[in-house]
């Protein structure tokens, strides 16, 4: 599961696709942590664009949790955006919607990051 990365000002948008479960979460976590470390180190925000994520298991959710912890330790932030209905429900059922800031769209998550990030997205 590759992460498609796009940068808008201080925000890094990572597109997550397919199914995230115990079969692929190790590689995903390693990839995600590399991005988070780099972005948070620069004081930025990571936005997980989950519009392409079809399913996430508890093992996958744990990857998000570890990334969030890493970002906070470096004074960075992680937002999640554009969840499909099933993933939205899984976030609610697992109470991850109480741990993460969830936005309906990537644009709204960028606007919560900075005006520059939202402007960069609009111009792209």
């Amino acid at each position: 599961m590759g992460l498609a990365a796009r940068t808008f000002a201080n925000a890094l948008v990572l597109g997550v696709h397919g199914r995230l479960d115990q079969d692929n979460c190790d590689a995903f976590r390693a990839d995600l942590m590399t991005h988070v470390e780099r972005s948070a180190h620069q004081g930025g925000v990571v936005i997980l664009d989950l519009s392409g994520l079809e399913y996430v298991s508890s093992a996958g959710l744990r990857c998000f949790m570890l990334a969030s912890r890493q970002a906070k330790a470096q004074h960075g932030r992680i937002f999640v955006a554009a969840l499909q209905p099933m993933v939205t429900e899984i976030f609610e059922i697992s109470h991850f919607n109480m741990v993460f800031q969830v936005f309906p769209t990537v644009r709204e998550a960028l606007a919560a990051s900075s005006l520059e990030a939202a402007a960069a997205f609009d111009q792209a």
Binding site: Q22, C25, D26, R29, Y55, S57, S58, A59, L61, R62, M65, R69, M86, E89, I90, E92, I93, S94, H95, F96, M98, V99
Partner: protein
Amino acid sequence: MPMRIRFWGTRGSIPVALTSYDIRDKLARALVEASGRSFASYEDAHAFASTELDFSVTHTFGGHTPCVELDLGGEEYFVCDMGSGARPFGVHVLARQARRPATVNVFMSHVHWDHIMGFPFFGPAYVPGTRIRIHSCHDVCEQAFRLQQAAPCFPVDFAQLAATIEFVKLEPDVAHDISGLTVTPHLQLHSGDSYGFRFQKDGKTVVYSTDSEHKLENRAEAESFAAFFRDADVVIFDAMYALADAISVKADWGHSSNIVGVELCQMARARHLVLFHHEPANDDATLEGLLKEARRFEELTRSGEPLRVSAAWDGLEIEP
């Protein structure tokens, strides 16, 4: 007679009780639900309460710490853990025995306080002729039982108990025949170690797996538990927390979640998941919410036969 599971204590960590505030709240919620209706009799009102109100309005999950009986229909008793639910379980044994001494087989998941605290109040322990065999994989089991009744913590020393009490050490991952019941213990992740038990009798399988944390990054561990739960008719599972809590602020506290319970039971093709070891801070409405969430997660992730999902409550009886 088919095997029957009786839940005498289902709460984790420490006993809790409904408060006056809780009862008023349930009454008020029931009255709101009944607004505009009239009931000609007590029976009509009872039928309304039984069929139209949420469980959390008409019941309570209860407050005793772990004690779960497997009733095999024979002369001997089989029970998991001696939490505070052991007190009402003891009352049940004494009533059923009608002065005849009982033989009670106890299976200890571990010896943390919430799992042994009921034993000093277990009535049959005070009856001469009673035989109590306490099975455990822990070397410290007898020490823990004796310690909690030593002065100055309790007025009756363990040595003063009238029953004949025997401590039996079990080997993990070995099937033991105990009075016709096949019992296989399995090591679990918990402070000081805990053990789950897989019980098999007459083609039925019940797994008791409490005080067990599951590290989601470890696939081998998940597969090991899926094998331990494999094709079980009932899995009694430590679902103390919501997943987000279990893997964040309460990581390494030695407990699991409703969501991981569903996932492991689906991997194992188990038939019935029973959420157990409820967090003492959770009220009845919160516990009912966690049950509904687990049921919905099961629906969302179902790929084969449906997995039945329940939440244990003090007084619940089920047949595997």
